[in-house]
Symmetry: C2
DNA sequence: TGGATATAATTGATATATCAAATAATTACC
DNA sequence: GGTAATTATTTGATATATCAATTATATCCA
């Protein structure tokens, strides 16, 4: 019954440890931006046509959360938002110049964080990890 | 660079899928209590002398979060709080009769949820999973 | 065409997360 | 014994999570 003995506890601990570590490293380079905000910028950089609903799905977040995170990113000058030309229900999101700079400045840190967290883990182990996690994901869907 | 390709994305997805699944199953039995609230009750049931700081550490939560969660559990009648007889800075937490009932009522669901999420995963795989997650945790500390 | 349905995003309410600062009690130490 | 340092918790501010309800636009289809 003890939750600390379960694998879910380890999963939770692993992702929280990583997020905390990543956030600290990022803050050392530029304070005032969060891991999730960077993820939004990164996803938009790779796929500029993403709508808010797409971001919500990709980041496992509620639409309401995304709305407020986007508002904040706009307020902070990282993102621009305008009505979508083809569908007036949507917004066209665009990374501002400042957002691009932030992204460029932090990209090395992001990559370094990931590499650091995976030190000493063989590619085969990563595959196993992914494989087992996928089983859990499928079981819970 | 794409975060969706990283193992961290899978970890995040796995734990969120599990939490969502577990929360739904719990809500079907008794609405008005969350997974985290149940974890607090469960931990206190196993170790009645836990202080709030212990709960915070065990659940990877901030002290402030625990304070507010405890307040709510007290307000909802699941928990009783009184000044600790030996250290007036602390609180003595105790599960109320209603809290005990809730816990007893939901214990089978909790165990079933865990088993369901781990269906088709061999014990050896679970060990591997734990082992690799521990590496990540150590790397990030 | 027009009315029902569906979709994208927002808003409101409440709870939780996180950080910093403040309280209050305990412990350490000279 | 009295002051400094430590510990446990709270409070405040801001951001995010979650659910339900709402708004606005788009699509479906008889």
């Amino acid at each position: 019954m003890d939750p600390q003995q379960t694998v879910f506890y380890r999963i939770e601990k692993a992702i929280k440890s990583y997020r905390q570590f990543a956030q600290q490293q990022i803050a050392a380079v530029q304070s005032g931006i969060t891991v999730d905000q960077l993820l939004i910028l990164g996803l938009l950089d790779a796929e500029p046509d993403l709508a808010q609903k797409d971001l919500a799905k990709m980041l496992f977040k509620d639409h309401a959360s995304i709305t407020r995170m986007i508002e904040l990113l706009v307020k902070r000058g990282h993102l621009l938002r305008s009505v979508h030309p083809e569908d007036r229900r949507k917004f066209k999101l665009a990374i501002s110049t400042q957002g691009q700079q932030t992204l460029a400045q932090l990209k090395p840190t992001i990559l370094r964080n990931r590499a650091h967290a995976l030190q000493g883990i063989a590619p085969a182990e990563l595959q196993q990890l992914t494989h087992i996690l996928n089983k859990i994901i499928n079981n819970c869907d």
